[in-house]
Amino acid sequence: MDKIELKNLLFLARIGIEDREHPKILEKLKNTFDLIDEMNELNLDNIEPLNNPLELNNVSREDSNNDRNAKKNFLKGSPESDEDYFIVPKIIE
């Protein structure tokens, strides 16, 4: 990974790290990928990927209304809101 790839990655992850910190973070990522790359020594032919240990079936339920006062509760937790909306910086000029 080089500096340009790192910049793209930081943008995708919406994380800002100052340019002067980039060499340090590149080094850290390189070390971790060195560990991960030990995977390449294994023979993985004809092996199905596993994404959940118990391979459970999905659970569904009736889509029903409940009595939680969701709007009030959730707006209360927001850093900035009014009675009905989350407030964010202006998006359209």
Partner: protein, 475 residues
Amino acid sequence: MNFKLQRENFRSKKISAKEATQEAIDKAKKDKFNIFINHFENEALLKAEHIDNNFDEFKDLSLSGIPIAHKDIFCTKNITTTCGSKMLENFVPPYESTVTKNCNAAGSIMIAKTNMDEFAMGSSNETSFFGPVSNPWGKDLVPGGSSGGSAACVAANITSISTGTDTGGSIRQPAALCGVTGMKPTYGLVSRWGMIAFCSSMDQAGPFAKDAFGCAALLDAMASYDIKDSTCSKRKEICFEKSLNKNFGNLKIGVIKNIDNLGINKDILNAYENSKIVLQGLGHQLSEIDFSELSSGICSYYVIAPAECSSNLSRFDGIKFGYRSKDQKDISNLYMQTRSEGFGDEVKKRILIGTHVLSAGFYDAYYLKAQKVRRIIKNKFEEIFKEVDLIFMPTTLDQAFEKNRESSDPNRMYKEDLLTIPANLAGLPAISFPNGLKNNLPTGGQLIANYFGEDLLLNITNKIQEVTDWHKMIP
């Protein structure tokens, strides 16, 4: 402090819930190890009073009148839940996690919430926004992580039980480093509802206590089928506390061939050899097993866990809840600055790794490959459990180490989880128990069982603790 005795004292009215709670609160307030993020003195005393006033209603519950500390990863309704992060420093959940709800219903009294690595990412409790936790066995030593506060709380005798979560070893490793008993149940036994997500396919909550008895009683309270978690199992039908008295007969226990090649500290290996003798003395047969794939687990884990973390943590954008960067005029900068200021270095690093391994050009090279390695590990366990009833190995490579450890190996911290990660990848239950002191510090032994073998793990650990006093050592 011994859970069994504490509960007996409450049930026989020797000590009231209020007295026990006041004692725990007093100790917690004097804590020198930075174990807690928040204390709840008034609420705890009120609940204790309520329990004392309604003694008959509470006396037979599994956690009746017992003070408890919960890892600050479990959402508690109208009570701040930080997950060890600046991002959630002032987050007040509008709902209660199933684990804390179950513990409350079982008669326990929450006195505090414990410190932890930020978003459960760490093996030394040094990534917490609220500062590192010290190990009660030595102030300059780490307690392990990520549930370091919960392990230290029991080790320091503040409460007899506490809760934790284990994604790659976050219960078992701190249990080993602090000299307490800690268990990661089968994936799906305990509901993840209201437990802040890190790696959803591996996260699992579990108990800490001095001994298997306390773990069994706490797990009885924690585990329940929960429709709110689609991966939650309906298998909770056994009473773990009762199963401690069951006779499972003489078992075949698998021990790893060539374990000396894994980089485990020689004192830990010595302790391990001692407990092998104890197991044989209890009538069990040890059988060498080949598990050369064991160390590949770590490569797979450090792809899958960051991948799921990058996805789970994308919800922290400063809009609906949690931290928001001040005075941002534009939405894009608001996201970027909120996440840059709200997350610590380790969390940022894991989000970056996860974003990379999931991106279009690298998905097959990393994520898919890691999932295949995960399958290999699971298959290997299945093969082994056709031959043996349990697997026994140490919990960690090292004993408690110094804070800010410098190592010539930059991946040493990640490798701390080498022996615990495989059970998470496969979703298997595993327990860590105190395995005797070396250099005046605890070591941990780990037993792994087949799916839903919690009763067996707790039973055998209890039998070991009946004939040894390793779990009675105090700092």
